[in-house]
Structures are given as structure tokens and as C-alpha cells.
Symmetry: C2
Subunit: 339 residues, 2 copies
Amino acid sequence: MNDTQRAVLDAISGDPASGPEIAEGLGVTRAAVWKAVEGLREAGFEIDSGENGYALTDLPEYGADVVEHRVDGAFAVQHHESIQSTNARARNLARNARFGRKEASGLVVLADEQTGGRGRLDRGWVSPAGGVWMSVLIRPDLPPARAPLLTLAAAVATARAVDDAMTESDGAGTDTDTTTSVGLKWPNDVLAVDRTGSERKLAGILTEMEGETDEVTWVVVGIGVNANVDAVDLPDGATSLREFCGDVDRGRLVRSILLAFDRLRSSPERILSAWRDRSLTLGRRVRVEAGGETAVGDAVGVEPPGTLLLDTGDETIQVHAGDCEHLRPEKTDRPQKRT
Amino acid sequence: MNDTQRAVLDAISGDPASGPEIAEGLGVTRAAVWKAVEGLREAGFEIDSGENGYALTDLPEYGADVVEHRVDGAFAVQHHESIQSTNARARNLARNARFGRKEASGLVVLADEQTGGRGRLDRGWVSPAGGVWMSVLIRPDLPPARAPLLTLAAAVATARAVDDAMTESDGAGTDTDTTTSVGLKWPNDVLAVDRTGSERKLAGILTEMEGETDEVTWVVVGIGVNANVDAVDLPDGATSLREFCGDVDRGRLVRSILLAFDRLRSSPERILSAWRDRSLTLGRRVRVEAGGETAVGDAVGVEPPGTLLLDTGDETIQVHAGDCEHLRPEKTDRPQKRT
């Protein structure tokens, strides 16, 4: 979207406006306004030409233009039909000092499909077309040690946005046990909980960074949401928004995630309390694996910068990173069998 | 240095060995041995041909070959006469998965001179020819949050090596107040303390990394030692080994640093105690600046992963990163004036 298109879109987003009015307001020719409108229509924006002038009647569902428009230009956005990994693309952009500096909030890489999506620790992340696969490049004043806070912030923002999308949906999901809640599993998962108490993965976060010990040069926060995809195309233990509530407007979903993430990260003290409010891990018996070691205990707290406190019965230990498994209350001494 | 040269060097590093003996031992022709010896001589290795065969009588002072030889091939080494920044070079190598994987201990980039050397937080680091400017690329199993431990390990290793070099030197330094000790200032400086108690910077560490919150992909530990350089070419507050004890053998110095760093980083629990033993910061009144905020207090401890504990009188605070200034004991309420 070029500058004139952006300005014309702003001009007609509220009340309709005539070509001459817009041209005068922007200081461009009427022909330039007409050209911008044609370009916007080609990009999927529905614009009526009526007696009162141009009126914006509908937005494209998804893509760079509509997301940039929806976040009022706070983020620069690029969209790919298919890409290996949005995090890999964002990392490459991050290493080029030009990218992600001028935008107040960051640069966003979106893809409809990832062919080599990644989760934590080089694991794969299945990313079929229709999902929300995005990476946010930011350059915060933050030491690397505090970057786990950004993972928690992104998880909270995603859970809220997903929750809103479910609430607003028409309930056309194919899953008969409709979800009762959306919650967070430490450190980086968003889970849907159905009526039976079964937890399945809806979304996940992967935070990467480069910098010196005092300060990061960049952070890339990858957010993957199983949105408009069939659960049958996802790994065991995962589900999708389509499954629970029918297809969602991904442009709106991305907008909600980005704006909530941006608000949260500006007040780190709120991140932890917001995370605790949505946590499914706290109060649970969990099994944590990290670096070849395993600990089982009760998750009794989370403290800055995202450290899990585990009461093993003998002592309370701090877990900085690792894989966490929620154990069923009745099986306190051994891992829950995966199905 | 090619494989045959490396093998020939090993063969003659102890007792002399004849051409036929070496050829048979290595399974190569006598001509190949002769060619390797010539190549080594051209690279600065002094090799006598006597009655008992070839004997290694002297090593070049500095360069990739001699450092690789001195560390028994534990590190791959590259040397540049002049380079912008060894850390920048190591970062670029790090992003290429080929580099730093096969070496047990890491890849080392050395330079005689840096034209754009960097210290913490994008500050310059003056790096004239004759210093030890090096970067060690490693790929440890470590979350970014624990990387500050590597800064402390490198500082301890450097202080020990510098101390040894001073002890072994002929005392030909031009400074009349000869040093009495070498110590560490939190977080990343090696200081020389002279008889008057004046502290001047001899060396510094800059640790950079890339990775996800669970685990780094790579770490580059930059180590700069003001070795065989004139103090007049350095910034105020800095001094050099030349100044204190005369020029040192940089190949030996680098060997000592690398081997000590490698030993220390394999036992993180020893890093902190070794750092405390050489600390000039602990027990001192200090002023710490970080992120625009300033705190003054007594440095009462250091805890994992390198956090300074500061007793401000009201409370004990944890300082994760920042600039630290040692205050003179008699001026407890205001910063020491810089000269």
C-alpha cells in the first residue's frame, strides 16, 4: 500500500468523502485519488462510489494491507502466501539495521502457510494454509535475560484475542464439546480447554533474540495460531479455531494480538499478573524437563522474568526454561500417558 | 597450516625426529615431509636439521598457526593483520552453521589491529596493532539468561593469564609504579592496580549471543587485552602490559586465556567463586548506572548468573547489567571525579 492509498483509506474509513474533497485534503490531483481507489479495490478493499462520495464498505480478510490498516500503521507488515518460516525471515530482516527501526512498534512478517515452521528447540511446527503464522520484530531496551517476559506477553495477548474471536464467532465449529476456556501453559503455549477438561494446543510462541548481555539488538516474537485449519492436519494434542468456533477473521485476530502485545510489553509489571490470571499451569502438578533433567512438583508461582517456581515436596526450585507437562491430579507420581 | 604440517609439527615438538622416521610414522613420502618442513619454516617456525633429524627450536610470536599449535588444535584459529572487529567477524561466521560446530572448544578470530573495535553498548574500543584482540565463537547448551557467566569466566581467565605474563616478564615496563595486582571490576573489566592504589583498565570482555529463550545458538566472547601497545595510544584510564612489564609473548598469552576459559566454562559453579577471588568490586562502595538510573551502595555479593548485589543502606538490590564505578572509600556520597 503506497502513501496515497493509505491516506485515501484513512479519509473514507469513517464517513464517505467525495473525490474532490479528498484530493483537496491531501493536496493531490483528483486523478491520483481515483488511481488510489482503484488500487485499493484491486487489493480487496470494497469501496462504493455513491452520491456522498467514496465509502469503505468492507475490508479484505487478510494480508499486509488490511493488517497495516487495522493497526493504524503502528506496525509495518509484510505478507507471504507461503514461506519457510516467518521467524527465519524476520531474523534475516533484523540483521539488516534498516528494518524494524523506524516503526514505533515493530515489523510484522505474516504468512498464510509455513513450509518449515519451527517451535522451541528446533522442533517442527505444522503450519498449513489458513493459520495465523506471524513474527514480530522489535528492538526493545532489554537485556536478553528478560526476554522471557515477551514470550509471556505474547501468550497473554494471543489468549485474549483468541478468546474474543471465539466469543464473537457464530459457533459454527465442528467440535461438539465446545470450548469452555482458553488458558496458558508455561512457558509458551495457549491451550483450549473443552467441557471434559481436555487441554489441546491452539497457539504457541517462539521468542528469538540477538544482542550483548546488557541489551538485545533485536527480538523476534513468533506467534502461531491454529486458526482456519482442519484439526486433522495438525499433530496429536492440537486443535484449531475452525474446530471450536468456525473460521475467524484473521485480520481482526492479528490486530487484537498485536495491539494487546504492544500495550502489555510497555508495562512489564502487568505481564506477569496478566499471565497468572490466565494460567492453567499454576496450582497444577507438573513434570518439567530441561537439559536432560526432570522434575515433578506443584507449580506454585511464576516470577520475573518468567521463571516457574516448582514445589517438589522437598524444596521450591526455580525453573528458567524447559518442557512442562500438566499431570492429572490423580496421577501425582508419574507422567500422564500421551494419547 | 595443513594436516601434514600439523602432524610434522607434532612429531618434532618433543625430541628431534628424522625425515624417514616421520614419513613412516605418518604414512607419507619423505618429499611430503620435506615440503611440510619448508612450509612451517616460511610460517615462522624455526626448525633445525641436525644429526638426529628435524628439531623445533622456536615458534613464531603470534598468528593463527602458532596459536592453534599452542592449544593442541582444541580451537580452530584465524588471524587477521587488520580487521574492523573480531566480534563482528565471529558473528558473521556464527550465523553460518558450518563454523564453530566441529571444534571441540570453539573457533577463535584474532587480529593484530582492529579499526572499529567495540566495547559494551556500542562504545568504541581502541585497538592499536600489538594488542590481543580476539573473539571466541562457541555453541554451548545454555539459555541466554546465563550468558553473563561466560563474561565472568573470560574475565577470570584473562586476569590469570595476564598475571602469569607479568610474573614471567623481565620487568622491562616503562611505568615506574610497577603493578601490585591484577583484579576484576564488575561486570567485564580486568584492571591493573599499581602501588598507589590507582586502577587502570588492562582488558575487557564483550559477550554477544543469538538464540531462543531456552538456548543460545551461538555465543561470541570478545576479549581485548592492551598487550604490546603504548599506553599513550589508549584512552584515559587505560594502561598496557608493555607499560607495566614490557612486551609479552602474545601466542603464550592467548594460549593461557583460551585454556583457562575452556576449563572454567565447563564447571559454572567454579566461575563465580574464581571471580569473587579476584574481584576488586566486592566490598567496595560503587556507583552503578543502568538504563538511565543510578544506584550507589556497597557491593556485597555476586550471584548467578553474574548479578551484582548492592546494599544501598535501605535495601539490597540486584543489578543485572550496567556500568559500575568504584568510588573512593572517603567519598561515600558522591561519584568519584574522573580525571
